[in-house]
């Protein structure tokens, strides 16, 4: 865990409203693990603002790391205005990481939208460790599909789902998962994205008795485990997302029941179908 003043050396608006920043920090780059995050002071002027947490998206070994973020409010707005060569004050790497065994023969990475951020790093790590894995990427439409090329390169197979069907499966990654998990038969699922999506993925994983690790999000203050503000309810009591997480074994999480949207059993009954029904040409996206 370090607090560094780090220079931004590259910036890209990957898709409208989604930016990537490459930040120089040997300390963070050398000590990071997939699933960990950094805590960034986003606003440059003197006004009070808490840091904002962002997953480590990729690593330039020993030199720098990359974040991928979506503008949703004040902090990310300010961060999107950062210019190359600006300096950011960053605390990291923070939190735990995705767990995997090199013996795994097939893992499945599922990303909803910008949830792809930590999974890209994981994908590169798994590849280095010669762990075979599949990937599923979800987006509203093909032009907002993030990091498809990277996964296409790294994964055994990369499925995509778009709400409008402009790329891959027409629907959510959840539906896609339900229709394909039986053929992928992953030993472990790694998922990151909006909470409603995670909840459903976890249900499916459960049904198929597959281990599932998810990266959670909460509001954070300290990011290092001292304020006890980022609590999430687990079957072992309150855990801190910033310290005990952000990666949790889905089984341990006590999901707010009320919040789970009702959905019909049929939906997840696997309709057997050939590979290529899901294997689709994907229009190249801007990255």
């Amino acid at each position: 865990m370090f607090q560094v003043n780090a220079d931004v050396i590259a910036k890209e608006e990957v898709v409208p409203g989604v930016f990537s920043l490459t930040i120089v920090s040997p300390e963070i780059s050398e000590n990071a693990k997939p699933g960990q995050f950094v805590h960034i002071a986003c606003n440059q002027d003197g006004d009070f603002q808490l840091r904002r947490p962002f997953s480590i998206h990729r690593i330039v070994p020993g030199k720098a790391f990359e974040i991928l973020f979506k503008v949703v409010g004040r902090g990310t707005e300010a961060l999107s205005k950062v210019k190359v060569y600006d300096t950011l004050n960053i605390v990291g790497p923070l939190g735990n990481s995705f767990k995997y065994s090199e013996k795994i023969t097939s893992a499945l990475l599922i990303a909803g939208g910008v949830g792809v951020a930590p999974l890209t790093y994981l994908a590169e790590e798994l590849t280095n460790k010669q762990v075979k894995f599949y990937a599923m990427l979800g987006a509203q439409t093909s032009t907002r599909m993030l990091r498809y090329i990277d996964f296409k390169r790294l994964a055994k197979k990369t499925y995509t789902a778009t709400d409008d069907g402009s790329s891959g499966y027409k629907g959510t990654v959840v539906d896609l998962l339900n229709r394909t998990i039986h053929q992928i038969r992953p030993e472990v699922v790694y998922a990151c994205g909006p909470e409603p999506m995670l909840k459903k993925i976890v249900q499916t994983a459960d049904e198929f008795g597959v281990e599932c690790q998810v990266s959670l999000e909460t509001k954070m203050a300290c990011g290092i485990g001292v304020c006890l503000g980022c609590a999430c309810k687990t079957k072992k009591g309150y855990k801190m997302v910033c310290k005990d997480g952000p990666v949790f074994d889905a089984r341990d999480i006590a999901w707010g029941k009320d919040e789970i949207e009702p959905w019909s059993k049929e939906e997840i009954k696997p309709t057997l179908l050939g590979d290529n029904e899901c294997e689709v040409e994907v229009v190249e996206t801007s990255d």
Binding site: F48, C222, C230, A231, K243
Partner: protein, 291 residues
């Protein structure tokens, strides 16, 4: 104390995490998160919400209890050559007394800080710190059970904080620290739900600094004991403002989250401030506001 700068309880955990980012030996004191007799789960999430120039929190004094603290946290804190202040809270006068009893004679504790911002379950849930009678009784009970310096941490959610300060000093407090958080609330206009699982929470950060400075100044007019100024401090000049108002030391809370090096920067900054104006001794600033 090497210097008058310390962390505010609950914003520093047990010091373990901060020890990875800053040199704890440079601090004036180490103040741990409030410990209670029994472990506490704390409040339902969400526990945090950011507001203009501050945050609302409803942690709910989550902690592992006094036994765990003595076994795991205190030994860690003892490694450093810095006075340790243990902050305690209870839901009854007996609990405060019992906690002090447990801490009596424990090696390596320099002072006890009584967090009296919690409700007294027996007295119908009125906050100890809101009644000069209750505040005095809690202080007396603690005083009776422990012989090391006693600091009482005052809540700002009162009309006349000087009266409370007077009462706890008369009851044997060696020092007072103020302020704790101001009760606030925020509502999500999308979901119509409160932003905090606990509905209301404590406001902290720069937003409450003017309130804290005023209260420190009022209390300084009333009691003679040392005052630890707390509330929205994030810079050297903020700290100086509290000294001028009458604080002999200051504690940094919320600012620790934004910049873990805040306390170190303030310690260096105070030195610079004094040099620049060649003031030989920090104590020449205390209470020196020219009213």
């Amino acid at each position: 104390m090497k210097n008058p700068v310390m962390p505010a309880s609950g914003t520093f955990g047990s010091g373990r995490e901060f020890s990875k980012l800053i040199d704890l030996n440079r601090l004036g004191a180490l103040v741990a998160k409030t410990v209670t007799l029994k472990p506490r789960d704390g409040n339902a999430p969400p526990r945090l919400h950011e507001v203009p120039s501050g945050i609302l929190n409803s942690i709910g004094l989550q902690n592992e209890g006094i036994d765990y603290f003595l076994e795991h946290d205190l030994p860690f804190l003892r490694q450093f050559d810095v006075p340790i202040i243990v902050n305690i809270a209870g839901n009854s006068i007996e609990e405060y007394a019992e906690l002090c009893w447990e801490l009596r004679g424990v090696e390596g504790i320099s002072a006890i800080e009584l967090n009296i911002s919690c409700p007294n379950v027996k007295a119908g849930g009125i906050t100890f710190g809101a009644s000069s009678r209750l505040a005095g009784q809690v202080t007396a009970a603690a005083r009776y059970n422990i012989d090391i310096p006693l600091i009482v941490k005052l809540t700002p959610n009162v009309y006349n904080i000087s009266r409370i300060a007077r009462a706890v000093v008369d009851a044997g407090a060696d020092a007072v620290s103020l302020i704790n958080t101001v009760v606030g609330m925020s509502i999500d206009t999308d979901t119509f739900k409160p932003r905090l699982g606990n509905i209301t929470g404590g406001l902290s950060g720069p937003a409450i600094k003017p309130i804290a400075v005023r209260m420190v100044w009022e209390v300084a007019q009333t009691v003679e004991v040392p005052i630890i100024g707390i509330g929205g401090i994030r810079s050297t000049l903020d700290a100086i403002e509290f000294f001028l108002a009458g604080a002999t030391a200051i504690a940094v809370g919320t600012a620790n989250f934004v910049n873990p090096h805040t306390m170190i920067e303030i310690i260096d900054g105070i030195e610079g401030f004094l040099k620049q104006r060649d003031i030989t001794d920090m104590y020449q600033l205390i209470g020196k506001v020219e009213v």
